[in-house]
Point group: C2
Chain length 282, copies 2
């Protein structure tokens, strides 16, 4: 249909936000709106300026035959700081302490707006990296993994603790839990992960990192590569960590004798602060 | 900041899409853009026309002191038909048959674009109803539940098969699986569900409906109300069903002797066809 600029802008904005990390040829828009490519280019300039000034993300234009425009979701440093500030405030409540040094986060991770914001922050960090799939361990990491995957436009694979009839044949490995030192099993459907895929591992909580390390080993078992590891909350005092090169959003310290807990920024803020501003990269 | 109409349209579209089912006062936008309310109203008219003609959703304007604008995501009948057509085609593959009359859907439900589209369709059906929370059973229903919840702007609660240290005190009930007739347990954290909440139950697969019925009973145990039930795939030939008043997107029939399966539309298409077009309701 033929649309005026104002309607084109509304429609293109919605379309780009819902199709992150996909190259959309300019001809797609010019056919959709029966408009000249030059008009579409002007529209995209307006959208790009708005996205970048509002910290929504980057709009990359790729020239050539395979060219087009691609929306990369990004969270600005200031928005990340506000998000982490809010989360720290909500989570620094001694009622949240559970036996075994765990933290009750079910309510917070039950809110899709919070989970989607966390997903957008993690996706921002890896926006320029090759990521083919998001991996997580059942159950609590699943919403975060999908939130990241939605922004990266890649599928999710869920590692399970035992094989299920609904998943066909599986590959399983044993690993040692970092904090309890017990031998545990993790299982992945055979057809779920391709060789040489780049896997971003995402989880909600990390103590010593035994589960993360297990997922690294499982990735290698399939001949795939770890593109990165991201965790929502890590326990600060759990040492030594079994993994490195991960990002964490928050760090938790517990003073058990006093039933008190502290939350501080994880290393993600260092990464976000060092990310190149969008204008330089476009 | 002061913005021109074109930039306002881009920004407002993004903001509304990311804040479904929330009443945004016009003063929020007029302050954000340092623009007169009359200009904002004109902007909203453009966005409303676009959303409704493109089948993205409805923009409801509420007059009065508590007034403002609210975006209700909706999927058009034609988009729903295309979505279900695509899903049927992908799923009608005999390789997907698993022992026990189950279906391998892990790859399809691993794709966030597919899951988000299914979530938008389910949310459309309940767009005009009071829904306070989405409930699902671990593990496979979780992504669908979050996809629906994102569109409804409500939290998710996940029912588990056994209690976990990370969830504090719990309430558990026993229920009888409809197809295997075995007694099973389901558990929910005590602090997760409020009395008198309106609960929309979402799951990925239903045979006789024993799990759905268990979740209904668990909802009542908390003094809450079932607002609706939605399932992605139901088995057609599993009779009698233990629940009614549910919607299903697809119906699966299996001819086991021949290793063949058939997929047809569930009852959701009847509901979508009967939904009032947005223009009449606004």
């Amino acid at each position: 249909m033929k649309l005026r600029r104002s309607s084109r802008l509304v429609d293109m904005t919605g379309f780009l936000l819902q199709h992150p990390h996909q190259i959309i040829p300019l001809s797609y828009f010019s056919e959709r709106y029966e408009s000249a490519k030059s008009s579409i280019s002007e529209d995209l300039t307006i959208i790009k300026e708005n996205f970048e000034s509002q910290g929504v993300g980057k709009l990359q234009t790729l020239a050539g035959a395979a060219g087009g425009v691609s929306y990369l979701p990004c969270m600005s440093c200031s928005e990340a700081r506000i998000l982490l500030g809010d989360l720290k405030e909500q989570m620094t409540n001694p009622d949240r302490l559970l036996p075994g040094g765990y933290l009750y986060m079910t309510d917070i991770l039950g809110r899709p707006d919070v989970v989607n914001a966390i997903g957008r922050l993690i996706a921002s960090v890896y926006a320029e990296d090759k990521v083919d799939t998001i991996m997580t361990m059942e159950t609590k990491g699943i919403p975060l993994a999908y939130a990241v995957a939605s922004q990266c436009n890649v599928p999710v694979i869920v590692v399970r603790r035992s094989s299920k009839v609904t998943e066909g044949s599986t590959v399983s490995i044993n690993y040692i839990s970092g904090s309890s030192k017990r031998i545990q099993t993790m299982v992945l459907p055979r057809r779920s992960l391709k060789e040489r895929a780049h896997v971003l591992i995402v989880d909600d909580f990390m103590k010593a990192g035994g589960t993360m390390k297990g997922m690294m080993n499982l990735t290698k078992e399939f001949g795939a590569t770890v593109a990165g590891m991201a965790v929502f909350v890590e326990k600060k005092d759990e040492q030594p960590k079994l993994v490195d090169h991960y990002i964490s959003l928050l760090k938790l310290s517990i003073i058990e004798q006093e039933d008190r807990l502290f939350m501080e920024d994880g290393n993600v803020m260092e990464v976000v602060r060092n990310m190149k501003p969008p204008k330089e990269q476009a």
